[in-house]
Amino acid sequence: MTVGVVRGMVATRFARAVNIGVVTIVGVWHLGLDTLLVLRGWPVYEPQAAAAGAWLALAVIQATGSVLLLRSALSAHSARMLAGAALVTGVVATAAYPPGGAIGDVSWAWNTVGWFGVLLLIQRPLWELIVLLGANTAVTVGFLAADGALDHVTVSRLLAGIYTTAGIQFTFAYLARQLNDGAREATEIAAGQAEYLARATADETVHAERQRRYEYLRGRVEPLLRGLADRQLDPGDAVVRRRAAVEAARLRRLFAETDDIPHPLLHELRSCADIAERRGVRVTLLSYGDLPELPTSVRRELAEGALLVLAAAATEARVTLLATPEEVAVSVVADAPPETVVEPPGPLAVSFLCDQEGDQLWWETRYPMRPAR
């Protein structure tokens, strides 16, 4: 999702820069250059109202088109309507020139209408602009022909004019389009690479996690299952049964370890308790205090003692979890045989204590949150 947002942002910002550029060009062109040309040639226009009206109408079209474009609100329909209106206005303006004046010192509308087309049709397929530029050029040619002014010199000037107006306008629009496409392509490639990297990292993590579980299964569970299959281990033997119970609880805890839930340690202890309850052991599980976030390895060591005692419990077990800012204490009391107690698991990030009273085994593991120094 983030990648999509970034991609959209980069492409949008680039297109916006191009839009601001073309709005500025057209603004300077019409409000600056056209105004000067119209004022300078004012006495020769006939009727003068047509020249003034055309200038004003183009100013309105320009303002409307610019605002819509910059607000990203220029629809296909309004773009075409405005471009058509600009073309018609161009006809009116050209009609007010003196005969044969469609190319010359007093002509201004040809070039302007072309730039309007660039502005209004910048988001439309290129052929729409080509149509407008063609029609715009045809207006000038039509007026020259009607005036009977298409002599040798005028045709040369006309061809040069086509290069400097329609040619430049088309090139500008084409390049802007290429740049936009290039930017979009670049951001798409970058986003694709980021997505690929993220997916590869996630895949690696999942793979490492599977590898770890598989190693565990191969080392602990496989010999047990193989022994049972080969009839070297007797399912009636209490030791074998306890080993199976312990491995079942370990597997269950291992699967619970990667669950994404608010209190993973409590969740893992619950899954150990669940396995014991299925064997008919009555388990009480109590937790008080706010559990801090604990690394997976610490959770594993904290849960290990409870797991072993729960797997060995005969009928009843009490599991408690107490969290304070100083330490986290996990304890289990159960009617379990004393040989359940083995060496503490892993490095001594946790400490444990055992005590026996009658047939009750009491195991406590503590993890200091702020070790005394």
Binding site: Y288, D290, R318, T320, A329, S331, D355, W362
Partner: protein, 229 residues
């Protein structure tokens, strides 16, 4: 339904029971009937308990679907000793009930011995801490919790874990009596937390009389800032 006064009471220590499940009332009556010093004089299903009807009121915290912690405060303010008896063992609920002035909190799964011991202790304004309440107190990180000594904390934690004072005593290297003193002293310190209630004042006064605490012991509050240090 209005409660039923019971006439054939024999023991010297009177108990009232309020619970919205008749089977629970009968169960509690059976438990208490094995203790000759106790007689149940009143049972009911609502909060309309006649004032001073018994020495101790055993109150179910969830009556007809509503938690009645505020009612505990009202009853305690009127001097009624209340034992909160509930299956809701969340830390917040237990702390609020004790803060409201209940003599003790007993979880419904904690069994006969704890309930009987609690009634006997409460009638004499003496503290009794069930393993569940011990876990709540030692895990309390509230801003105005009282300052407990390290032995008191250890005794509460191990009592919560093991439910055997003999085991705790063996592990701490002290007598069972000493373990009991640590636990009761910790509980008495909680009687000075929050709003005043006659039940709390009675417990403090009795603790001083019994020599469980000295007046100096119970004046120091542990501030929130000190708790962070």
């Amino acid at each position: 339904m209005v409660g039923d006064p019971i006439s054939d009471a024999t023991g010297s220590l009177t108990v009232a029971i309020t619970d919205d499940h008749p089977v629970v009332i009968e169960g509690i009556q059976t438990w208490l009937s094995e203790e000759p010093r106790i007689s149940v004089v009143y049972t009911g299903e609502t909060l309309e308990v006649p004032p001073g009807v018994a020495d101790v009121l055993i109150l179910d915290l969830n009556l007809h679907g509503r938690l009645v912690i505020d009612a505990v405060a009202t009853l305690a303010a009127a001097g009624q000793r209340v034992i909160a008896f509930s299956q809701f063992t969340e830390q917040r609920v237990v702390l609020e009930v004790l803060e409201a002035g209940a003599c003790e909190f007993v979880a419904k799964n904690e069994g006969r011995a704890h309930l009987v011991n609690t009634v006997l202790a409460a009638a004499g304004d003496r503290p009794y801490v069930t393993p569940t309440a011990a876990g709540v107190l030692v895990g309390d990180r509230g801003a105005n919790r009282p300052k407990l000594s390290s032995q008191e904390r250890t005794a509460l934690l191990w009592w919560f874990q093991s439910m055997s004072k003999a085991s705790v005593a063996r592990r701490m290297g002290v007598s069972v009596h000493t373990v009991d003193v640590y636990i009761r002293r910790a509980r008495v310190k909680y009687a000075q937390v929050g709003r005043n209630a006659p039940t709390k004042a009675d417990m403090l006064a009795r603790a001083i009389e019994d020599g469980l605490v000295k007046p100096d012991d119970i004046t120091g509050y542990e501030s929130a800032a000190a708790g962070e240090g």
